[in-house]
Structure formats: structure tokens, C-alpha cells
Amino acid sequence: MTDRWKGPLERLDKVRWIIPRTYKKGMNTEGIIFAAEDMIEAVLSDQAPEQVANVACMPGIVGRSMAMPDIHWGYGFPIGGVAAFGMDEGVVSPGGVGFDINCGVCLLRTELTAEDVTPRIKELVTALYRDVPSGLGSEGKQVFSLRQLKDVLRGGARSIVKRGFGWNEDTTFLEEGGAMEGANPDEVSEKALKRGMEQIGTLGSGNHFLEVEVVDEIFRSDIARCFGLFKGQVVVMIHTGSRGFGHQVCTDSLRFMQSAMKKYGIHVPDRQLACAPLFSSEGKTYLAAMACAANFAWANRQFITHHVRESFEKIFGSSAERLGMHVLYDVAHNIAKIERHEVGGEERDVCVHRKGATRAFAAGDPVLPEAYRAVGQPVLIPGDMGTGSYILVGTQQAMKETFGSTCHGAGRILSRSQADKRSRGRDIEAELLAKGIMVMAKSRSTLREEVTEAYKSVKAVVETVEQSGISLRVASTRPLGVVKG
């Protein structure tokens, strides 16, 4: 395993740990890690804190370099990293978003209960496995022409709904309305387009999944009611991103960012943090291409939403409308966005990078759908395969402290080879079935790499964000069925 991090960490309170600015030459601000005491050992066990310090060295960073409790070692930014940059003096970094641009989570509600679904879970998971293309290099059910793809890159989920794969209300409940502004397909390479044409409506592989879950605990009943959640209710979680299209956009951008660094005389401790000033042509080109990839991801999840509704219709012999399959919300957890935040007593625009972190806006924010504006933004936190997920709500504390951001998931603690060793000879499918979870996966090695022990407890992660006040628990779910790539 890798080296333990040996830098200084000062405890601010029960869940806040500071990496002082004096730790490393070049740090423009301090780092902060949100973690409970019993998590800190795992945080220090690899080089993730060094990555928090590295991000603090980037030009024009505003506020602290932050890491959420699901922090783990990434490349460039840590996973769980949040950093904002000033529009005039700051930068945008493709490595601060990652290769899977707008990897995110969509949650669908139903009016069904566990009693309705459990007896038919095998049929349902089989139908979902068949209807939603998954696995490495999986291809969508519909191949898009170049013109149609460009339309998707501009219009995101909206363009998919227009084609009849969704309901008009759906996009109201997606972050950015499912279509980020500023997307310009002319800034995207032919390679990215080629990778994207066949992959809309595919789940992919790795930690991506499609999960049928049941709400098993309600923490705040008034907010749960507002989100349309009740105990015993079946919901569906879709976790995927922009597939090969986004990977290629990031790869292409990192190339021209390497030259931009020289051009603008920028020095960062890690080449993966390559960046360009927000005002520069390189910075603008990246943001325009990134928005295309973000829209690709929203289109992708929208297409999958459509397939999921069809599978439910087949199995339960009723229309998706009658089954109440509304989109609860959809969040992006790998993205850079220009947002208005209060910094040092004044409102200003900043470019917030969320790398494995979720937007968590508080009640009253005008960008939230009207239905949720009185309570705050739903925040969707997928757990690892087999332990269930959480629905949180954004808070004023997040607006004040983290540019309206919170955690995104459980966070890995075991490397792939450690997970492989621990799971060797085990039948993960059978183990999950014994716990009442029906799993279908394209790859057995993925199942073993994604085994529960490989992840931090998502429960501990959300308890920590609640303790810090940057979001609050609304409900938790447990899985009934999982489709993996």
C-alpha cells in the first residue's frame, strides 16, 4: 500500500481538521478536511491530504481547499475535493472535475412499496439488466447521428425528452434543468464525438450502478414529505456519467492545458492539476467542452430513466405515470460551475470545482425547483453496492462554509488489489442474495472490486456532514436489487 501522509493536521473541532498554510511552500490558503475522529486514521493512510494541500497552491483559489468526509486519494484533486476560484485571478482545471464529467445520481420515486416489489425482484432486475445497456464499452439502443449528438450536447436531457424519452416535468428536477448553459459542440474534438455517438443511454461499468431501493428510515418527516418520500417506498437510483465522451473531453483538455500552463507562467505541484485562467481562451474552451460533456451525462441519465420506466411498466403491468415514477432529483458530483457566493461579506461569482462532491444549496435559492425551494436542495448520496443510500438536504451552513457543497458517497478505503485479496474465492452475488439483495453484473471482477468492505461506511460519512451542518439527513434506503456493469 502507499505511504502514510506525514504532514501537520490541526484539529478545529469534532469534525474539522486544518492543514495549515505554512505546511508547504506555495499554498495560497489553508486546507480543511471534514472527518470524524474515527475516520482520520484512514484519511492519513494515503496521499489524499497532500492533494488537498496541492489544490491550495493553485492560483486564485478563494476560501479554503476543502475535502468532504468521503475524501480519498485521487489524481490531481482528492476525491471529495471542493475548491472555488475567482473569476479574474483564478483558474479552471480539468483535473478538478475529472474524466467522468458530470458523473452523478438521479433518483426516481415510485408509489410502489417493498411488499409490491420484493416478490418480483428477480423479474424486475432481469428486465432492468436487459433494458439498460451496461458493462465496459456498452452501446446504447439508439445510435445518434452527428447532428443529433450535437443537439444533445447543447440541449442535454431536454433534447432527450423532446425526442419522447421522458416527461416534460422531468427536467425541472435535474440540476441545471438538465442542460448547462455555454455548451459549444464546436469546442469538442472529433474523437470525443466518435466515442459519444453510441454511448447515450448506457450505464458503463466500475462503480456505476442502477439500484432498486426501499426507503427504510425517515429522519426529517416534513422535508421527506416535500420530496415525496415515505417509509417502505420503492425508489430507483441511477449512478452514471458522461461515459467515453466525457473521458475524451478531459483527455483533450489536459493536453492543451499543459501548454497553457507554460503560456501563462502557472506552476502547480502536480501536472494533473494543469489549469488555465478562467478569462483565457483555453479556460473558456474547456468550460464550453465540459458543459457539452455535462449535458451528455444528463442526456444519458434521462435515457436510462426512460428505460427504467419501461422495465417497471412491463413487470407491473401499469403505466409509469400510474406507478408514480417521477424524478425526485438529479445531481452532478464531478463538475465545475460558475456560481454566485458570499465571500468575505460580499457577493461574487466564483468557479466552484466539485470533484466527488455534491452541490447542496439551501432553502430559498432561486435555482432550486419551486417544489423544493422552501426546504432546500435534495442531495443524493449513493452508498456502496449492498448498503443503501441517503437523501440529504442542503443548508445555509453549506452556503456559508463550502460554497454550497457536501459529500458524494462512501469513499474507497481498500485498493482494488486489497479488495481482490479479501474477496478471493467468495461468491459476492450469493452473499448479497443472502442479505436480500438481488445483483446482476456484467463482470464478476467488478463485483469483487466493489465489495462492501472496500468502502468507508456511508452512514459515518453522512453523520459527519450532518454534524458539521453542511447538509442534513432526510431519508435512508436499503437496496433490493442492483444492476452493475
Binding site: D100, G135, K191, S415
Partner: protein, 139 residues
């Protein structure tokens, strides 16, 4: 000489590769990368292409070379069973790969590699006829 070795990483995975020359190093790094995707080794036919990659230094050339190979693997849907590097200059390189299509129902792909990153990426000449490279991949 060991051609490559897996590097542990909490969320992702890396490789170290060695070679007696820079050309051999780039071939071994590529084979190390594909070993993470599949164990299938038998030769295949039907696909071949020349690859030209540019980069401002050796690290950039290596990262771009590996990303180019991932792109071919994903878009052409071929397993590359023969990888050659013809020339590596200061800012460009040339390679040639061949392979063929495969039956997904018979060959298990172990994992998806999203891309080769620049994180702690290195290409070093350790001594006479000994080169070492290191890269991490995003999974």
C-alpha cells in the same frame, strides 16, 4: 527483466514499466495497461493502424500514447495483440498496433480504464539500457 508491475492506489490503479530502451519502455507500458483490462493474449488479426502522437516531453508522449491506445480499443472494439513503437523523438512518436475483434461473451474484460492521468507520471533513464516509467489510470 520484469516488464511491468501493478501499483496500488486506493481508488484507482497504476503501473510501473521497465525497458532496455525508450521504445521498449513504451511498448511495455502499453502492455501493462492492457493487462489491467483483460488477460486474453492469443493473437488476433484483421485490424492494424499506425499511430502518431505529439507531446512536449517524454511524460506527455507516454500519457498521450496510452490514451490514444485506449481510444482505439474503445472505438474500434479491438484487442491489440501486437504493439510496436517505431520512433520516439523529442516532441512526437510513432507506433504501429495490430489486433482484432473479440467476442464479449467469451472474453471477460476485467475493468474499464477511463484514461491515463498525469498524476505522478514519470519517464526516467535509470542507467545504461534501463528505463523506467510510471503512470496512474482513472478507473
Amino acid at each position: 527483466m520484469k516488464r511491468f508491475e501493478i501499483l496500488d492506489h486506493t481508488a484507482d490503479i497504476g503501473i510501473v514499466a521497465w525497458g532496455r530502451s525508450l521504445l521498449e519502455l513504451f511498448v511495455n507500458a502499453a502492455e501493462g495497461m492492457f493487462s489491467l483490462i483483460t488477460d486474453a493474449k492469443e493473437p488476433r488479426e484483421g485490424f492494424q493502424t499506425e499511430i502518431e502522437v505529439e507531446g512536449e516531453d517524454r511524460v506527455e508522449l507516454l500519457v498521450n500514447w496510452l490514451n490514444e491506445l485506449l481510444y482505439i480499443f474503445e472505438t474500434e472494439e479491438v484487442l491489440l495483440t501486437e504493439i510496436q513503437v517505431k520512433r520516439i523523438g523529442p516532441v512526437s512518436m510513432k507506433g504501429r498496433v495490430s489486433g482484432g475483434t473479440f467476442d464479449r461473451s467469451r472474453i471477460e474484460l476485467k475493468r474499464e480504464i477511463k484514461a491515463c492521468t498525469y498524476y505522478q507520471a514519470a519517464v526516467e533513464e535509470l542507467g545504461p539500457s534501463l528505463w523506467r516509467a510510471q503512470v496512474y489510470f482513472d478507473l
